[in-house]
């Protein structure tokens, strides 16, 4: 049996610091919103001519008065991703096409064009925030119906931890937040909950089984009993996610990366956050027995 409970304090300090750092990052550095949430235009180009590079492309586009243009490689040397903020010009794509054809010859394939107006991006952001809030709330309700309040609190604290730290990491690395990241965050919410609930189920079962073991020991027993399941499921989920990350193409990279972070944090938090909340709230046999009487 591994003595997970020996490190409860150390990891709690670590987690609190991670959450604080993440919150600071989110407040001061902010998130790198993609055009879904900020509005603007995105163009994915593939060039046939290998001599064209990011800087020549950037120089060319800078002459077009598009405002702040970002140009970078996308996946490989001949693929480029161009982004700029909202532009009132309705024919901007056509003009860029003409301009590029003139400067570089007819060497480009416009693989993807996305244009999101300011009104739509504001709506998408709002519905994204609502979706995550509703998800967190429903999880709270579900767990509150299923378990005693101490358990609900533990699960929710773990959930917030996972979401905040994942977003913090995105802020730190400057990774783009788009619609698929919202999907990833919601899936993380589901996964983290899932992991926590399985361990909590066992804690509650053990509280009924052993009348003389304190919660500090009991959580450790429960973590160990469910450990192989926790690990196997994390491994299979990570195997699936890693194969999306490495082989699923550029579009799914951000999504799978967020999920990979989320699964790792989710596994960690169900062991070290959810359980320590139970310990700190001094959950005892009485907690579940009282519930049984009711």
């Amino acid at each position: 049996m591994i003595a997970f409970n020996k490190y409860y304090n150390k990891f709690n300090i670590l987690s609190v610091s991670l959450v604080i750092v993440s919150l600071l990052l989110l407040t001061f550095k902010g998130l790198n919103f993609g055009i879904d949430f900020k509005g603007g235009t995105l163009i994915e180009l593939r060039s046939i001519d290998t001599k064209i590079n990011v800087s020549s492309l950037r120089d060319n586009l800078n002459q077009m008065n598009l405002g702040d243009v970002s140009v970078k490689n996308f996946g490989n040397e001949t693929d480029f991703l161009i982004k700029f903020e909202n532009n009132e010009n309705k024919n901007i794509i056509e003009e860029i096409k003409k301009n590029l054809d003139k400067s570089f010859g007819n060497n480009f394939n416009f693989r993807r064009v996305e244009n999101v107006g300011p009104k739509v991006s504001a709506e998408l952001l709002r519905s994204g925030v609502i979706a995550i809030s509703v998800a967190l709330f429903l999880m709270l309700v579900y767990i509150w119906i299923r378990f005693e309040w101490q358990f609900s609190l533990g699960a929710i604290v773990a959930l917030f931890h996972d979401v905040i730290v994942t977003l913090g990491l995105f802020s730190l690395l400057g990774l783009e937040i788009n619609l698929s990241i919202i999907a990833a965050v919601l899936t993380i919410v589901g996964y983290s909950m899932n992991d926590t609930v399985v361990i909590f189920d066992r804690v509650r079962e053990n509280l009924r089984k052993y009348s003389d073991i304190k919660i500090f020991e009991l959580t450790n027993i429960s973590i160990n009993e469910t450990l192989s399941r926790t690990l196997i499921t994390s491994v299979t989920t990570l195997l699936a996610l890693l194969s999306i990350f490495f082989f699923g193409g550029e579009v799914l990279k951000g999504f799978s990366l967020a999920m990979i972070f989320g699964v790792i944090f989710g596994t960690y938090s169900s062991i070290y956050i959810a359980n320590t909340v139970l310990v700190r709230l001094n959950v005892s046999q009485k907690t579940v027995l009282r519930e049984d009487k009711n």
Binding site: E44, K90, I93, E94, N109, F110, R111, R112, V113, E114, N115, V116, G117, K119, V120, S127, G128, A131, V134, A135, L138, M139, R146, L179, S180, A183, L186, T187, G190, M193, N194, D195, V197, V198, D201, R202, E205, T226, S228, R229, I232, T233, T236, T237, L238, L239, A240, L241, L242, S243, I244, F246, F247, G248, G249, V251, L252, F255, S256, M259
Partner: protein, 517 residues
């Protein structure tokens, strides 16, 4: 938990076979309507264009209020009430009347039988709101009035948008209402939406009006620019003929001048009016105005009584074709703005399909190998369930002809990763039970029973997340939540029926064996 009746076994087999059949049917073409169902590929996979259009209703509201001035004036004139000082400000109509008639006017607007101000019984609301402010009346559309107006202009716009897109002949366009002032257009297979965008961006309001010699600023005329921006002309506000009177319009090569023109034919009313105007106006210039810009203003040389004519204006063949198309399909009730556009080229779509399939295959093989390595015989059972799970999931998507997107494929891969969780929970529990219980059957039975709540909890939480995503998410994200959500049900089915059935068959043959799992 370990007993299966014969009937149930047959039932499970049949259901599995049915879904597998549908899953496989994606690869073949059948004549049969039921069997020929296919999963739809989302725009991100097959390439295509997604356009979200917003109707700008402000001009419509202004126009309606403008028309209302005449209606109100005439209506009260009959009742010997004089209305004066009409003004249109911020979508509000302002007017005055003499002191004695005020009550009558308010009553007319408040009456449920009012001809002037329709009352919507269903919504308990009038079309117009009237406010008395010192010496003025202020009339504006009520909330319900605005809603009705928006809905009707959305209906009209949808029809026109459909006609224009049908004229171009893209395959299987999807044109849907969104809210009460938006239209969603999905055009599969279209990799350059430039032409459609420019066609949808035009209101195509065509009018024939005389060019006047009046000086600038005079009432009843306005200064309009020419389409090519070279010239300006004072054009009368009186409309002789509008696009509504057109029966047909076609591009044609005018061999005389070697120029592309648009020929049109008019309906009976239009032909009559056109004939009258041209006979009265010989020698005058007739401006052909499209969306506030003059296309051309030829001099009328002769009466045109045939009800057909032609528009020239330095067209290329393409622009003449487009103009003819716009005139045939009719004018939009209000301008449309493209507020969201997402276009994916077909080769990127194919790349995404390939990448998604490779990721699915690799993820699947890795998970299968890992599970086999962990559980040996029971690993094989889990893997059989997992493979069937994938087929059943694809089968269900096929039956409902659901739309598969790239995030949808990610959802399937994720399902593969998380689906084994339930079996892992069960097998780990059985291992624990076997520590204290020598009888294999009892241990397996209680393993299944005791792991049930944890499995349900775990799946319900994921399902909740998927449901929220389905209702809040858009396009591709919906596809993700769909596969993730359906995946939960197929997972539970394969775990509790297929994997359990196989487990039961194996365990009952090896009742006495020790260290079974």
């Amino acid at each position: 938990m370990l007993y299966f009746s014969k009937l149930r076994i047959i039932f499970i087999t049949l259901i599995s076979l049915l879904f597998i059949l549908f899953a496989i049917s994606n690869l073949f073409n059948f004549d049969n309507k039921i069997l020929n169902k296919k999963i739809n590929l989302g725009l991100d996979l097959q390439g295509g264009s997604y356009l979200l259009l917003e109707i700008d209703n402000d001009p419509v509201i202004e126009q309606k209020l403008q028309n209302l001035t005449v209606t109100i004036r005439n209506y009260f004139k009959e009742k010997n009430i004089r209305i004066t000082n009409f003004k249109l400000l911020n979508q509000t109509l302002v007017f005055t009347s003499d002191e004695n008639s005020k009550q009558a006017i308010l009553e007319e607007f408040a009456s449920e039988e009012s001809e002037l101000n329709p009352y919507y019984q269903r919504f308990k609301s009038h079309q117009l709101d009237i406010v008395e402010d010192e010496n003025f009346f202020k009339v504006s559309f009520s909330k319900q009035g605005i809603v009705n107006l928006k809905t009707s202009s959305q209906d009209q716009a949808l029809e026109i948008v459909r006609r224009r897109i049908d004229e171009i002949g893209t395959n299987e366009p999807n044109i849907l209402k969104r809210g009460n002032d938006r239209i969603l257009v999905e055009l599969p297979g279209l990799d350059d939406p430039m032409r459609i965008k420019s066609l949808l961006g035009k209101t195509a309001n065509l009018t024939f009006r005389f060019v006047t010699n009046n000086t600038e600023g005079s009432f009843g005329a306005e200064k309009l620019e020419f389409e090519d921006g070279t010239e300006e002309a004072m054009v009368s506000k009186r409309i002789i003929l509008s696009g509504e009177n057109l029966l047909d319009a076609q591009p044609r090569m005018d061999t005389e001048n070697n120029e592309t023109v648009v020929t049109f034919s008019l309906d009976r009313v239009g032909a009559k009016r056109f004939g009258k105007a041209t006979s009265n106006g010989v020698g005058k210039r007739l401006a052909i105005v499209l969306d506030g810009k003059v296309i051309s203003a030829p001099v009328i040389r002769d009466t045109i009584a045939t009800g057909s004519g032609q528009i020239s204006g330095g067209f290329t063949f393409q622009s003449a074709t487009d103009l003819a198309l716009l005139l045939r399909s009719g004018a939009l009730p209000a301008p449309l703005n493209i507020i969201e556009e997402r276009t994916v080229g077909p080769d990127l779509g194919q790349d995404s399909i390939n990448a998604g399939m490779i990721a699915l295959l690799i993820g699947f093989i890795l998970v299968i190998l890992y599970i086999f390595f962990k559980y040996k015989i029971f690993g094989i059972i889990t893997n059989i369930a997992l493979i069937l799970n994938l087929f059943i999931l694809v089968g269900i998507l096929t039956i409902f002809e659901a739309t598969l997107t790239l995030p949808g494929i990610a959802g399937i891969i994720l399902t593969v990763g998380m689906a084994v969780d339930a079996n892992v929970l069960i097998f780990e529990r059985i291992k624990e039970e076997l520590k204290g219980e020598k009888n294999n059957l009892i241990a397996f039975d209680s393993g299944y029973t005791k792991s049930r709540t944890a499995i349900l909890d775990a799946n319900i939480t994921t399902l909740l997340a998927a449901i929220i995503l389905f209702f809040m998410g858009s396009g591709p994200i919906k596809g993700f939540s769909l596969t993730l959500g359906i995946g939960i049900f197929t997972t539970l089915f394969t775990v509790y029926f297929i994997a359990r059935l196989l487990t039961v068959l194996y365990v009952s043959k090896n009742k006495e064996k020790e260290g079974l799992i």
